[in-house]
């Protein structure tokens, strides 16, 4: 899932300090799971902003809501009958949701309320780590289910490099060497022979090197 962290409230205040009517729009999708932008976070931010405005002597209206998903028009439409009354909307969705909200309501000022970080897993509550960089051509079958693009700091296709030391990456002692993980995993599943065939150069056009990407599934479209 997409992982995000709440933006510092000072940054949000700087954006909205001149607004009189404000809507905090959470998203019930990924950002709810990592506790950065769901309904509860929307309520916390709305409450904090009400306290900020009131203590400054300003009577501002700060409402909160949460949409099922902000990356789908059908759910964004839930705001259509009331978005006009607000000066601006702070979206707590990931970057996709913020952009789609701004796209759908093109005359409305939309501010982001979270910093979108990566696609990752929940190791435990409050501890999330990256697992996928959406390169568009999955090679997990060849690397024992561990992605060298996301897990190796250099995104090497044939590792490890000389910076690997006792299973740790030279970038930080807290970062496991992705290729050490791949080696151990392939050993466990009896596929170490994969190391005898170097991975061929990767076609990066399916990643960001090909510009903004789009999926067209004619089998699904009507």
């Amino acid at each position: 899932m997409i992982k995000a962290i709440p933006k510092p409230i000072e940054e949000i205040i700087e954006n909205v300090k001149d607004c009189d009517k404000l809507l905090i729009a959470g998203c019930d999708g990924c950002v709810t799971v990592c506790e950065a932008g769901g309904l509860k976070e929307a309520k916390i931010l709305a409450s904090a902003l009400r306290l900020y405005f009131t203590q400054g002597g300003k009577q501002a209206q700060v409402d909160d809501t949460s949409l099922t998903r902000q990356c789908e028009k059908e759910y964004l439409a839930q705001l259509s009958d009331r978005i006009d009354q607000y000066d601006a909307v702070v979206s707590l969705a990931c970057g996709c949701g913020v952009q789609y909200l701004a796209e759908m309501y093109d005359k409305k000022v939309i501010y982001p309320g979270v910093d979108t970080c990566f696609m990752g897993v929940n190791e435990e509550r409050g501890l999330y780590s990256e697992r996928c960089q959406a390169c568009g051509r999955c090679i997990l079958a060849e690397t024992g289910g561990i992605c060298p693009i996301a897990r190796c700091s250099k995104r090497m296709l044939n590792g490890p490099c000389g910076g690997s030391d006792k299973g740790k990456c030279e970038v930080s002692k807290d970062v496991p060497c992705g290729w050490e993980l791949i080696y151990e995993r392939l050993k466990t599943v009896g596929q170490l022979d994969r190391f005898e065939n170097p991975t061929v150069p990767k076609d990066w056009t399916t990643s960001r090197d090909g510009g903004p990407r789009k999926i067209v599934r004619e089998d699904l479209r009507i």
Binding site: K40, K43, L51, Y52, Q55
Partner: protein, 124 residues
Amino acid sequence: MRLQYPPNVRIIEVPCTGKVDINHLLMAFEVGADGVIVVGCLEGDCHYMAGNLHAKKRVSRVKGILDRVGLGGERVGMYNLSSGMGGRFAEIVREMTEKIMELGPSPIRKATGTALKAAGEVAA
């Protein structure tokens, strides 16, 4: 024990401090509370394993929010007591009341000119 502590304290009972949410604490300030203390069981003694530790984290986050929005994080605090520490409870309430007296009324109450409202009035 007949312990005396200031009468201007409103006690809200919860089954465990783990039930106390960030939004509950912020709402108390929105309705005009000058200060809030969360009093949980001693660390390591939570009947629900980690309720008081969750509360500690939440109080810490609320402190940060209050600092950033201009109310001051010192208006909220977390204490850990056992049910046999009534004397210490009264002492903490006195200390907190004195601290709040020094800080003065909450800027929210000063700005709105209202006395402490019932939480339901704001939530409605």
